[in-house]
């Protein structure tokens, strides 16, 4: 499975998510999906399942599609179940010799459709052991309906349902640790990644997830310029800051073994990640220093735990 990654070579492959989709400029989702699908071997086909969300309404507005592969969407809460059904039917046909070649099953859901309403069907699909990859593009709120908080929204972040005002200072709760929960499913492969730099981390993890037999899960950070409130051109910068502040560490868990994928040369203070984003603006007002301290303490504690688990 060990392959040498060469970005130039990879981007020369025909794209599986084509341009012309309607995602916003500066949105992470398109980069994530294109990056994951690029990891497919050229000759293999895929069935893409998608939960309701920005990605779905922007890449598959019937009769248009941005996908070169088969695509199926039904509702918001059930993309993993839908994918399970397709995979099960494929297996039945394959057994009877009615389909040829390799078909891979990849599901994309946002954090709303994965952490919240779709969690039950995701958990069920992983436990049953379907040969599929579930990819969460995590933009930390319900962006498609106008930026409402989700269980993935980090503490203190401003959304339309966790507003900032006299009585409220953004979201009160910490972000749900979904990657950890997916590790607890004891599936063959779980990865946390982001479309960073030359996309090597995203690419190699996607390849592993796609070509590992059994259910695999990837949690991919996917910034949203509207919800996070940063200038469109800053996408790559924001991702880099999330990783270098250890707000979003990159790691993988293969057959239960934790492995840290990226050790920042210098761990940056969490405020470097918070400052460029409008959703955290109130944290920099006078008297709110405790919020930044709390955010730093939370990140430090999680990071220490990850270092321990991965033996890094």
């Amino acid at each position: 499975m060990k392959r040498v990654y060469n970005l130039k070579q990879e981007v020369e492959k025909p794209p599986r998510l084509t341009g012309g989709h309607r995602l916003c400029a500066g949105c992470g989702a398109g980069v994530v999906v294109a990056g994951v699908l690029r990891a497919l071997n050229k000759e293999d086909r895929a069935v893409v399942t998608n939960a309701t969300g920005c990605l779905e309404v922007s890449t598959f507005m019937y009769p248009y599609t941005a996908y070169m592969d088969s695509f199926i969407h039904s509702a918001f809460e059930n993309s993993a179940a839908t994918c399970s059904g397709v995979e099960a039917a494929y297996n039945a046909l394959k057994r009877r010799g009615k389909v040829e070649g390799t078909v891979k099953f990849i599901t994309f859901g946002g954090d709303g459709g994965t952490y919240d309403i779709g969690f039950q069907s995701l958990s069920g699909a992983m436990e049953r052991g379907h040969d599929m990859v579930y990819v969460c593009y995590d933009n930390e709120a319900y962006m498609n309906t106008g930026i409402q908080r989700s269980s993935s929204t980090p503490r203190f972040a401003r959304t339309t349902t966790s507003p900032v005002g006299a009585k409220n200072q953004g979201k009160k709760q910490e972000k749900k640790d979904l990657t950890d929960i997916m590790v607890a499913h004891n599936i063959p492969y779980v990865a946390q990644t982001a479309p960073l730099g030359n996309f090597k981390d995203l690419h190699t993890k996607a390849y592993k997830a796609i070509y590992t037999e059994g259910p695999c899960f990837m949690n991919v950070l996917s910034p949203c310029p509207r919800g996070w409130d940063y200038p469109m051109a800053k996408l790559a910068e924001i991702i880099k800051l999330a990783v270098d502040t250890c707000v979003w560490p990159l790691f993988e868990v293969e057959e239960g073994v934790w492995h840290l994928s990226y050790m920042p040369k210098r761990k940056l203070p969490v405020e470097d990640f918070l400052r460029p984003q409008g959703r955290f603006r109130h944290m920099f007002e006078q008297g709110n220093e405790w919020m930044i301290e709390a955010a730093q303490a939370y990140v430090d504690q999680r990071w220490e735990r990850l270092l321990e688990r991965s033996g890094a």
Partner: protein, 353 residues
Amino acid sequence: MQRVLMKGNEAIAEGAIRAGCRGFFGYPITPSSEIAEYMARKMPTIGGVFVQAESELAAINMVYGGAATGARVMTASSGPGISLKQEGISFLAEGELPCLIVDICRGGPGLGGIQPSQADYFQATRGGGHGDYYIIVLAPSSAQEMMDLTMLGFELADKHRTPVMLMAEGTLGNLIEPVLVRDEVTEFVDKPWAITGCLGRQPNIVNTLHMPVEQLQTRNQHLTEKYQAIRSQEIRSEEFLTEDADLILVAYGIMARIAKKAVMNARSLGIKTGLIRPITLWPYPYGVVNKIAQTCKAMVSIEISTTGQMIEDIKLATAGKVPIHYIGEIARTPNPEEITQQLLVIAAKEGLI
């Protein structure tokens, strides 16, 4: 009373607060999300509770829990979300728990679209979930009525111990109009049945499982009688120029406003036209429609739906007395002139011009 410009969805939220609602359980879905957003901002400042659930299923069950304590509570969603809530609504009906459920309709079936629709009529007026039950369904036609019928909805819910649905098209949810902001409700009915901790009294029970045959039959008999009482007391409708009309339009919600203009257009072209506007979609104004069917020559159901759904209630009400026509399509709010053109065709067919 203050007169302010408000979005229909905001008028619902403000009306609910003024009706004493202090518990909102929501989940985002277009085109209803502004209701949750308004509540998220407002509830913490008035000692109320805003909870964003992890799904529509969770939100409706939070309503079940909140309503059982006797508090005025509500949720809001749109077609696909209301479908998910139906299990909870069935339980609320059997538990006889008063609450308000708002449906800002979009097109379906399936994911449909986010354009306006009235195609949730069946799932609203026919119980929607499993079992023998109905819920009261109110259909506002302006931002003002979004507020007023929200307030009425809470009142009827408490009076009859029943879930009430406020159903409006996405157009109305997002329409900005002047609204006279109503005074706060200060008097509420007692709820001796509420689960409030039984210190010093016998325990109260809210239960929806009735395994013995007679017990279930007694329960359903009780509900049937309650629905009969609601039918006799709560039917609301509006009539416009029906006395001498040959051609009667039947429309509700925002379509009723548009139909009213079409009535005037048709009259100026010499077709004696009138309008019935049901305000309660359940209980349906069968009596009014039947009465007018005795004097008119034809009726037209106008809906934002392609198959036509309310038309079935008109057929039930008229029992074959007059021919019933249909004008409607999904995801588009037609303008009065388009309707007038179609009325001309119908009038010619019926020999009215």
